[in-house]
Symmetry: C2
């Protein structure tokens, strides 16, 4: 078990009194505590869940994807599903609600917390917005939020409400409906509208603002939003590091600056590749088109080392509540980069084994203890859900920051 | 007179019926309209007004400063007076209120609109704040605003409420009380507190946010402040161009970006020197210390050309309502730069003559007209105050955007 001080904020101590059905203490018995779920969100983008849940691909492809999903389930407890408007509803009025509901349900049944990404973004937005007036675009965008957040309530209760607002009104690569309305509303104005609708549609949801911009721009935007009364539940920070690992110094500096708000921080889209680095002079990562971007053994080792350091720094920071690896597999990864933790053939890279070890071993608690004469046993462990096993009996318990003594009938 | 279309937004047309004391039309008489004051604020920093008004310097020095002030009065209708806290109140509880009131009164009596600069800033702030807790600093800062804005009400009704907020919480050149509290409150938070107190203390005042940062940072800050309900009356933009004139392209780009808010824009601190340029690689202008920075004939011509272009672009823009030349004279100019429009010996540079021509001639209206049979005459002119002279009689009229017909008894 790691140094308790280092991870103290991720752990708690709980005293349990075990009694039998008649109310008598279960004294001097061996008890195993096995962590089944983390409170911390170890997430991953796993868009293949849509095909797997809907079983709408050929059998051999389905088997391949099911194997991929099995590997995913062995490590993560969080999944990001795609809600890019232009793909979710390419034809107005025909959203892929059922397909995505099936995927979200499939994941939920496997104890995975699902996040929807994103509800409002200028990229991959619905092309048919371009034929509308700005007032109509805004109404369509709000109606989209109301519809989708409501349709997925209970299956998806975490949303990237609005994505990349810093650049949104000055995005000039191509005309799109969302940039148009963001110019009208201003940055804080559009955030306000989208969050208001998201909150109305699912008051208990965790609603995120998300951006790749980690400069002072994003700090001031968040500051403005909070002062304008917008109820942001968590600050989303993208970290696509195709041009090289940020390193400890930048990472800690970013954490320090975004901690001032006292809000939970989610690293929503993390990429560290196992290939050569993208040249540093490329400003928009989308501009880099490389025909074949191989994963190599040397770079796979580097990727694992960087992921270990980065995850450790983030897991240590008290405000970070989620880290999402963006691409699970190199297959279909953004920009064709070897950004996955498994290769195109589903074979695990060192980073996969490393993350599995961190999440399921180093940062999990699996201990055996013994009750005292009064049936009392104390567990200290990482926050989350546990199976308590005593003889042939098993019960579920939760370790959260509400410590104290619980009495369990076993 | 310049092209009427170009300056149409600065002008209006007014029809006046002149009658004599008995109510009879003053028919077929020559009438002179002489502009005495501009609605547009052509301002200038003129800290020497404090010595002139208080007459607390030796006689020869006083005569020299009076000559300087005369030159100032021949061109400008606005003045910026210094309220740097560390100089205004170097010893806690002993502010230089009387001296500054005398200066403001002296200027007001000469038909000059006075602005106070600044109420809250991390630079040249009171050093004795450093001994206080953050709560005490905030209270002292708010009390300072309440006291000074109240003490000067009627004399000074325009304030740079808070200066350079973008950098304020990350300013790291030296410790100071204002940076400390800005870290606590956040940028939008400190703006909110200062504006709230300023507004309470003088509800009718014109309250500005002011910054040298013209990047997207400042745009997002303003956006956040407005969405947080802060009543900013005008956006203040500094333009200290010691490293070279921005040029038309940047100037128009800045105007375009800061126009989105629909608020009046004040160019609050404009510098174009008549000397060599400061090297472009200097980030904080304060870091450039040059023992002697001469004004040369060649660069004085350049200064005049640049001022002509810049003032023309700004005067043409419908949202710009004020331009302030930061240093009137090279004497005591910031950074020792030849930033004035008069030299250290009070001799006018070409820029002085140019500005006088623009303000008092090209952008002023002085016309002679004749009343018709009904005593009616129409004037089209730049917005502001006028003397109407008919024979040996003189009355004052105002040309503002509330057009229509006025009847004047002469």
């Amino acid at each position: 078990m790691p140094n308790a001080n280092q991870w103290a904020h991720r752990m708690t101590k709980k005293t349990i009194k075990l009694v039998d059905a008649a109310g008598n203490p279960v004294a001097r018995k061996e008890v195993a505590f096995r962590q089944t779920h983390h409170q911390f969100l170890f997430g991953c983008g796993i868009f293949d869940a849509v095909e797997v849940a809907n079983r709408n691909v050929p059998a051999d492809r389905l088997a391949f994807l099911e194997r991929k999903l099995d590997l995913f389930l062995e490590v993560f407890n969080g999944a990001t599903l795609p809600f890019y408007w232009g793909r979710f509803e390419p034809e107005k009025g025909k959203p892929q609600t059922k397909e995505l509901q099936a995927a979200a349900r499939w994941l939920k049944e496997r104890n995975i917390t699902v996040k929807g990404h994103p509800l409002c973004w200028h990229t991959v937005t619905a092309p048919w917005l371009l034929e509308m007036s700005n007032e109509e675009i805004l109404n369509a965008q709000l109606a989209r939020i109301e519809r989708d957040v409501s349709d997925f309530k209970g299956l998806i209760d975490t949303w990237d409400v609005i994505n990349e607002v810093v650049i949104m009104p000055i995005f000039d690569k191509y005309d799109n409906g969302i940039t148009r309305i963001s110019k009208d509303l201003g940055r804080v104005g559009i955030v306000k509208e989208m969050f208001k609708k998201g909150r109305e549609s699912n008051p208990g949801a965790t609603l995120l603002l998300n951006d790749f911009n980690t400069s002072i721009n994003y700090e001031i935007l968040i500051d403005g939003c909070l002062n304008a009364g917008i109820s942001i539940d968590a600050i989303g920070i993208q970290s696509h590091q195709h041009q090289g690992y940020w390193g400890r110094e930048k990472l800690e500096e970013v954490l320090e600056r975004f901690s001032h708000f006292g809000l939970p921080i989610h690293f929503t889209e993390n990429t560290l590749t196992s290939g050569h680095l993208m040249p540093a002079d490329i400003e928009d990562l989308n501009d880099y088109q490389f025909p074949e971007w191989p994963s190599t053994p040397e770079f796979e080792e580097r990727q694992a080392r960087e992921i270990e350091e980065m995850y450790s720094i983030l897991f240590r920071h008290p405000l970070v509540e989620a880290i999402t690896t963006w691409n699970f597999s190199d297959e279909g990864a953004w920009l064709g980069a070897p950004a996955g933790i498994v290769r195109v053939d589903n074979s695990p890279k060192p980073a996969y084994e490393l993350l599995k070890k961190l999440i399921k071993q180093d940062w999990s608690t699996n201990v055996i203890s013994t009750t005292d004469d009064n049936g009392i046993v104390t567990i200290e462990g990482f926050l989350g859900d546990y199976d308590l096993v005593c003889g042939d009996r098993k019960v579920s318990i939760k370790l959260d920051k509400n410590a104290g003594t619980a009495q369990l009938v076993i």
